[in-house]
Symmetry: C2
């Protein structure tokens, strides 16, 4: 390490879990309607399951707050993998339901990850 933050790894990506040096993030920010909670949960869980089976899928992080605003960030090896996932037939049906039922608005951004740093308090304690 050459900086002062000796508890931070400043690397392009966590090589330990086999991610490539450069990869892409899909940043999905959205506002849930109040409608169809059960159908939403079913659909959302299925989409995560299905995404994980797609070629080039790396990982996903997803949070929803009490106000119904959610951010889901999924990570992909390249833009071709994102395009393939976008036109998956079952995913297309879910996207249509999303616009008709689940979301009052959303933003969907594709971005190329250029740096990645991580911190784990457990590493500090254990000295790993």
């Amino acid at each position: 390490m050459t900086n002062n933050d000796d508890d931070i790894e400043d690397v392009p990506a966590p090589s330990s879990d086999g991610w490539p040096e450069r990869y892409f993030a899909v940043i999905f920010t959205n506002q849930r309607t109040l409608a169809n909670d059960d159908m939403y949960s079913l659909t959302s869980d299925r989409m995560v399951e299905l995404a994980q089976q797609q070629p080039g899928f790396l990982g996903v992080e997803s949070v929803r707050g009490e106000d119904g605003i959610g951010i889901t960030v999924s990570y992909w090896r390249d833009r071709a993998a994102i395009r393939n996932w976008r036109v998956n037939v079952e995913h297309l049906a879910a996207q249509q339901m999303g616009r008709q039922e689940f979301y009052s608005w959303y933003h969907l951004r594709v971005a190329e990850v250029v740096t990645h740093r991580s911190f784990d308090a457990g590493d500090m304690v254990s000295g790993v």
Copy 2:
């Protein structure tokens, strides 16, 4: 519009609010400890206020779930703006508190946004 999703705008960025065609996202995924809720709220609010005053700041989206996992995505005009914000003196102190008190782990990724699509159900109703 040339695709079938006539309710979706497929544009590099929302030009209406003056964002540049290409810009950068800082994706901050984190797990809150159970400690120091009041100090965390004060610090977090102050950092959003301070970030908004930085040159090159475009916007921020932030969500925390009941399990204490949070995702904050901030948007910046270029990487120089991100570097300047990273070394802001008050922000550096907050980062140190973050590692010592607020977060059990975090991931911090910088990514270049290459496409941006948005949806607003209100636009469908009004026909805008």
